[in-house]
Amino acid sequence: MNARKWTILIAAVVFLAAAVPVWRLQDEQIYQFQQRHELYRDTLYLPSSEYVKAVSLGYDHFVADYLWLRMIQSFAAGWSRPENADQMMNYLKVITDLDPNFEEVYSFAIMAVGEKGDRYDLVKEVVETGYMNNPSQHRTPYEGAYHAYWQRDDARQAKFYIRLALHDHQVPDFVKRWIPYFDAQDGRYRAAYEFALRNYLTMLAQRPERAEEDVNLLNTRNNLMRVVDEWIRSVIEPQAQAWHERTGEWPTVEQLDEAGAFAGNELPDYAMINAVIHAIMDGTVNSVAPDELEALTRNSIRTWDRLPPSPYAYVPPYHQGYLIWPDSPLESGIVISRAEAVNQIWHMLNFIHEGVRTYREQNPSMPERLEDFMPQFAEMKDPFGGSFTWDPVQGRAATTTFPDLKPEDIPHLY
């Protein structure tokens, strides 16, 4: 072995002698670092956006993307907590200043500072920034509206955001449909109805070839029906409450109607609207001119003496109209349409059958009585006043109102 080989050998030994402890120490450091609670708080600190922009040298997008990728990782790792909200906001601001058109950041920001950070004021700031940077994009205000309504129960703010979203010319129809929804939630049924009707009729006039298969058209009509439905229910509900307070009993809708509780209410004439819709669908009327549309919208609302027919004209007569459900598990005396009530029963029966499956996993035989596995249904009355029954031989649940309910009997409302 010559000197050169010796040198190499010694160097290799020295390398290993140094590298192994270094590896071990590194491992220790990483472990300790991971133990630290403020992992992300420390590393995610950023100076304000002007400085970041200055050092990004025109590679703004790249830096924004890099920060974005980092941010979503650390947010996923539990950094997004209320106490970090301001810092999160700073981070998000840096990204949106670097790349103002990066819409996903705004959506994400609404989620982060709003939902996780629990700061409504910051959400408003995000939505405003997002809207100002991208005035012709619907996404940020739409997400803002979603947050405002679902998280904050602020229908008014939500509607304002939806109005901002409508500045996007290519806004999808589902965003438009939120306007009547929020109006209805806010008690502004008339406004909601007018918007939804105008929206639907305009759309119907420009309908595609096979209108009955168009999902958007269908959704818009359902939306209209929902508004009418809510409106009618909003008229019935206070009357039912008043009756209940007066007598201690829950009335039926028919009782209320006969007592003249609904006289003098403004409600849409859905039979008339249906006729117009069918005329357009059949081609009798080609389209509705804007001023005619305006008149039609106004005239279809009139003052009623008795309760008008339900908007669900296409369901069987038995399912039309409304009822008051005294034993509703949500809230006693809730007002629902009959069609919806059938739906509810179907869901409840399904729930019972689920319970049977769970029961069978723990017991060798079928349960004898409903009380054995679903005690809450034993006492409960269905919306029509019937009781739930259980047939252990056939393994089927039913109600006395509908002893033999089949899927095809369920009215598809929407």
Binding site: A54, L57, H61, W68, L69, N101, E104, S107, F108
Partner: protein
Amino acid sequence: MREIYAIATNTFKEAIRNRILYFILIFALALILLSGVLSELTIAGRTKIMLDFGFTAINFFGVAIAVFVGVSLVYNELEKKSIYTIVSKPIGRWQFLLGKYFGLLLTVVVNIAVMSLFFLWLVHYYGVMDEKVDAGFLTVLTTSAGRAVASFFWWPAYGYAANIMPVVALMLVELSIVTGFAVLFSSFSTPTLSMMFTVMVFIAGRLNEDIVRFSVQLHDKALVAAQTMGTTLEEQLSLSYYLARVAAYVTPNLGVFTRSVNQAVYENQIQIWPWSILYGLLYTTAILALAIMIFQRRNFK
């Protein structure tokens, strides 16, 4: 022309036989490849992230090649005295310098072409585009190149894949300026210094619009001060205002060439401002003329 061609091809040979170029290229291709990988990490904006990373890699490493390879090219000839034999040949010094410049530019162009083809292929591979996804790579390439040419005639180019080439084409205009500076500085300075100078000019060029903004701020402040104190505006304008103003006019406005990235990512459509190309070419011409002026008067060591 013939002489410039000879020098340029020789310079190109020198550059492509230089190992450093391949290191840079490998890094660039790795980062471009990373753009595809990273785009899978994100929860949203996948296309955007892929395009951003790709464009940044191409641009950044294009600048790196112009700087690292460029600054040593002229200096090497002086340092190693091969310039002596060149000068004694029937060739003007300006031809030598232009030859060097075009050789370097050719190197940059070839590298950018390699990077952007790879990127285009990657984009095609990941299917991140609104073109017919099942179109073959050659179809995509041809379309993209065709639209790049069209966009130079102010014809809007649509689609992500089609947008890559126009963006790259604008980058080349930017790089022609940076390369010009590399040649300018290396014609009278050492490589280390020229590298620093070139990088500084690049940074200042990227920040050009910020410098303008800064000068406007100073101007506004002075205006307010002049009104409150009842003096003339000129008395209130500080030296830094004039310096910022001079810097704003002297440094190249490289921001003009990076705007297309935003268009490519968000508007899905690119319209090249024709004056920006003219601006880039004229700026380069001016820089080269300056370099020739300096170089022509020099005694070589």
